[in-house]
């Protein structure tokens, strides 16, 4: 996979593969480099800066999909939590379990986090119960509380499905569309599949739009400047750069600025990007 001429790997990005609007990559596929296990993460150590004068810099969006959910739905409680800069899962847990934020237990936060992500992937009480190994009754209670406290999100999901049924498509914040031809099917398996896509596609697709716009801005800013550092990888919500050491601070500033401002979200939901650097990708992340 290493090209003799450059001594590097040159991945090929797929711009027309993922239906949601995300990028894909082959040779190597960066999307499936494991990040959940320690051993998998170690593989990132193999990705290094081009020479001693360079280091790798990695920048990624924090909670981007949930921020997009908040901004697309305009749910007051969730938008407020992000605007205040709160830990979103703790804030969610406080509302759902009716306790003070400081009193939220680890377990409650974990459950709230599962609900938050369950929303993105269109999961119901049954899926939540499975994931958390809790009874379906408890899962239902959590979800009911969630719907009450974050009624804007439930409304957004209902509205999105209704929109899809009427128009035949859903769209991202940038107007990227996905057609859902099965959204009105009488067959509930087929319909359910389309409904999950109706919820999930605008969220994932908007996140994809955002990082694409950020890349375009960073690329343009680098071209206009005298900076020699290069953007080299894109994977999920993350960008990786091969940075000349003396440009480290300038690059950090430029990257963060572009990522956070590339696509401002409705309801003033702030966008947060974090950046790190090191000799290899693992250290940088």
């Amino acid at each position: 996979m290493i090209q003799p001429r450059s001594g590097r790997v040159h991945t090929t990005f797929g711009q027309t593969i993922a239906v949601t609007g995300r990028l894909s990559s082959i040779n190597p596929n960066l999307q499936n480099i494991p990040i959940r296990t320690e051993r998998g993460r170690e593989i990132r150590k193999a990705f290094i800066a081009r020479d001693e004068n360079h280091l790798l810099m990695s920048a990624d969006y924090s909670q981007i999909e949930l921020r997009i959910v908040a901004a697309m739905s305009g749910d007051p409680n969730m938008c407020e939590a992000f605007r205040k800069g709160l830990d979103i899962h703790t804030a969610t847990a406080a509302k759902v379990f009716g306790v003070d934020e400081h009193a939220v237990t680890k377990e409650q936060r974990y459950k709230a986090k599962s609900v938050n992500f369950g929303i993105i992937y269109g999961q119901g009480a049954f899926g939540l119960a499975e994931n958390l190994s809790i009874s379906r009754t408890e899962a239902k209670e959590i979800i009911d509380n969630y719907k009450k406290e974050f009624s804007g999100i439930q409304k957004y999901m209902d509205d999105t499905i209704a929109f899809a049924r009427e128009q035949g498509y859903v769209q991202t914040l940038q107007g990227r569309k996905r057609w859902l031809r099965d959204i009105s099917s009488q067959n509930f398996t087929v319909r359910g599949f389309a409904e999950r896509n109706a919820i999930n596609s605008p969220i994932q697709g908007s996140a994809a739009d955002m990082i694409k716009l950020a890349m375009i801005q960073i690329h343009a800013a680098l071209k206009e400047s005298t900076l020699k550092s290069k953007m080299v990888l894109q994977v999920h919500d993350e960008l990786v750069f091969d940075v000349l050491r003396e440009e480290e601070e300038a690059m950090k500033k430029l990257i963060i600025h572009c990522m956070q401002n590339a696509m401002p979200l409705p309801y003033d939901v702030p966008v947060l990007a974090e950046v790190g650097s090191g000799a290899n990708w693992l250290e940088a992340h």
Binding site: M1, I2, Q3, R5, S6, G7, R8, V9, H10, T11, T12, F13, Q15, T16, V19, T20, G21, L23, N27, R39, E42, I43, K45, A46, F47, I48, A49, R50, S133, T172, Q174, G175, R176, K177, R178, W179, R181, D182, S185, Q186, N187, F188, T189, V190, F193, D209, K212, L213, M215, I216, H219, K230, M231, V232, L233, Q234, V240, D242, N280
Partner: protein, 630 residues
């Protein structure tokens, strides 16, 4: 078969230009053609259910009551499929009040009595009850498994029974969730097989229910009525009013007009051409004689058509995709300095009038960072293109391209291409950068139709009804022996490459209005198009890899994997192939009995995916080890 075909493609549906889902029709046709071409049956018939209620429904109101509504796409597919069958001259058998299963059963008996070997094409395991030394199940291939022929031995092995008559005893005992046949509550496959081994038949089990110990005995005693009814429901009725007519069932003689019509309607261009194209050679070929002014003077029909009574005169050639052979085009070669100058002058003049240039590169491979340029093609007008061959040496090649760099440098000029990132990367590796705007047809298609595939050949067939020259015709099929563009004779490359630029230009004309109609032009222009050059630079740059670390780490992982593997074998008390999901499933769920409710996949193996193991890992460390091995 229709349901199977539909669901096999449900995640990447085939949609016609009018928005019709043709998964079921396409999948069914493929299975049918595979059957006819590879199994070569002498006789064939297709049986359908009818809407009429059957004896089973009147006996048992719940029968098939748990079934969901049939997806509309399937309901709409049935008339098309019936029409295709008519076109193939294959009889459609329906008997009101009987299910297709019953008709197939009855016909199988009749045909086997007439001396035929009968294959029932189905993936339904219930048909096992009909199998004998003359009648078999033919289970067609699916995405998961190869085609299978099941005789009595295979059926008995699958069900773990003594003889095929016990299939209905099994179904009576364990029921069938798919058809909502209840069976005896709490009796599963294993218990059912065990009981049958001991008592031989369902009736005998029920007669001796009092002797059966424990909770199973109690279940059997409580479930007698259900068991008797379930067996009845599962029994395929052989007394169906239908006849096996050898003459009608004999395969042969397609009605091309019907097939042409239905393939045309479903936009089955490729498969339609494959089927009817072959038929032309053996069946009918109509040549039109034209006079000097292009008027048809007479139709000359080859004798074979008259000999064949069913083949009607074909009008398929009218709807068949156009190709380079029957389409007027002018592709020029620019292989001298004078001709290249002429080409450049023409492109420049076109640009001065605000025109756009469609371009394509021909290369020695598909890795843009490694392949060499073989040539470039340009088109500025439909049906016209230029091909400029390029020499093997990098320096010589650069020298020839150099004059065109003035065009590349113009920021306002629009370059049209299919997957331009590839062409631009190839050029960048020769030191050329196109500064102009881009219109990428692949990207445009992605924006207005994100689902499905979008190779140039596919797009051309779908939107232009034109089948381009296939790369395989030039350099052979994919694989070790595939040739190199460099070795193809120039005249052939010229036609191929010229066509690519020409077609891509024509696609752009089709796609621009589609982007607008679908309201996706903004995302195409503001997000996806500018990203092409960003990704191009990233791909060009690449990232350094610490190969020493990777080698050392892969060794380390290998050792860890070996250790985990060893602990799995110790935990299981048996050595097996851990990489085989089939063997792993048997060890975990049959030998170790980790989960009495273990789920199976569509292929009948136990599910041993990460999610399954992760759940079990909470209680069983062996699953943890398997996960870390993976």
């Amino acid at each position: 078969m229709i349901f199977r075909a539909y669901y096999a493609l449900v995640k990447s549906p085939r949609i016609t230009s009018t928005g019709k889902n043709t998964n079921a029709q396409f999948g069914f046709l493929n299975t049918l053609m595979d059957l006819i071409n590879n199994q070569k049956p002498s006789h064939l018939a297709v049986c359908f259910d009818t809407k009429e209620k059957t004896e089973r429904h009147t006996d048992f109101a719940e029968y098939k009551a748990n079934r969901q509504e049939t997806p509309e796409d399937i309901l709409l597919a049935v008339p098309d499929i019936k029409k295709m069958l008519q076109g193939f001259n294959i009889p459609i058998i329906e008997v009101p009040g009987y299910e297709a299963d019953d008709i197939i059963g009855a016909l199988s008996v009749k045909a086997s009595q007439a001396g035929y070997k009968v294959y029932m094409v189905t993936s339904d395991k219930d048909y096992g009850q009909l199998v004998n030394d003359q009648v078999f199940i033919y289970k067609p291939a699916s995405g998961f498994s190869k085609a299978e022929v099941l005789g009595p031995a295979e059926v008995c092995a699958k069900w773990d029974i003594e003889h095929v008559g016990q299939v209905i005893d099994m179904l009576g005992l364990m029921g069938d969730a798919v058809d909502n046949i209840p069976g005896i509550k709490g009796v599963g496959e294993k218990t059912a097989a065990k009981l049958l081994k001991e008592y031989g038949s369902l009736e005998n089990i029920l007669d001796h229910a009092d002797e059966i110990k424990g909770s199973i005995g109690e279940k059997v005693r409580n479930g007698k009525a259900d068991a008797i009814m379930s067996k009845k429901l599962a029994t395929i009725i052989l007394d169906v009013p239908c006849v096996f007519n050898e003459g009608d069932f004999a395969l042969g003689g397609w009605k091309e007009d019907i097939l042409t019509e239905v393939f045309n309607e479903l936009e089955f261009r490729t498969i339609g051409k494959r089927i009817l194209g072959e038929a032309f050679q053996v069946g009918s070929k109509t040549e039109q004689q034209k006079d000097l002014f292009g008027n048809v003077v007479e139709s000359k029909t080859s004798p074979s058509v008259q000999a064949s009574s069913v083949s009607t005169e074909s009008n398929f050639e009218i709807v068949e995709n156009k190709t380079i052979e029957n389409t007027a085009h002018q592709y020029f070669l620019a292989d001298s300095e004078a001709l290249r100058k002429q080409l450049l002058a023409m492109l420049t003049a076109h640009m001065d009038q605000g025109g756009e240039i469609c371009f394509d590169t021909e290369t020695t491979g598909l890795d843009a960072n490694r392949c060499e340029l073989v040539g470039m093609s340009f088109s500025i007008k439909a049906s016209e293109a230029w091909y400029m061959p390029l020499p093997a040496g990098k320096e010589a090649c650069i020298k020839i391209i150099q004059p065109f760099d003035t065009l590349f440098q113009i920021p306002t000029l629009t370059w049209i291409g299919q997957n331009t990132k590839f062409d631009l990367l190839v050029l960048k590796n020769y030191g050329f950068e196109i500064k102009g705007e881009l219109f990428d047809t692949m990207l445009a298609h992605y924006c207005f139709e994100p689902d499905g595939k979008r190779s140039m050949d596919l797009l051309s067939e779908k939107f232009l009804h034109y089948s381009p020259v296939r790369i395989e015709d030039l350099i052979g099929k994919k694989g070790k022996n595939q040739g190199n563009m460099r070795d193809v004779e120039i005249e052939k490359i010229k036609e191929y490459a010229g066509e690519d630029a020409d077609i891509t230009l024509q696609l752009k004309e089709k796609f621009l209005p589609l982007l607008q109609e679908n309201g996706v032009e903004t995302v195409f222009r503001k997000v996806d198009t500018p990203l092409i050059k960003v990704l191009l630079d990233m791909e060009y740059e690449g990232i350094r890899i610490d190969t020493d670390f990777l080698h050392a780490y892969s060794k380390e992982l290998e050792i860890l994997a070996r250790e985990s593997e060893e602990r799995v074998y110790q935990g299981a008390g048996v050595r097996f192939n851990l990489a085989s999901p089939k063997q792993l499933g048997e060890v975990l769920f049959e030998k170790l009995q980790l989960d009495p409710k273990a789920k199976k996949t569509k292929t009948g193996q136990y599910a041993t995916g990460e999610d399954v193991l992760a759940k079990l890992a909470r209680e069983h460390t062996i699953c943890d080890e398997i996960l870390s091995f993976r």
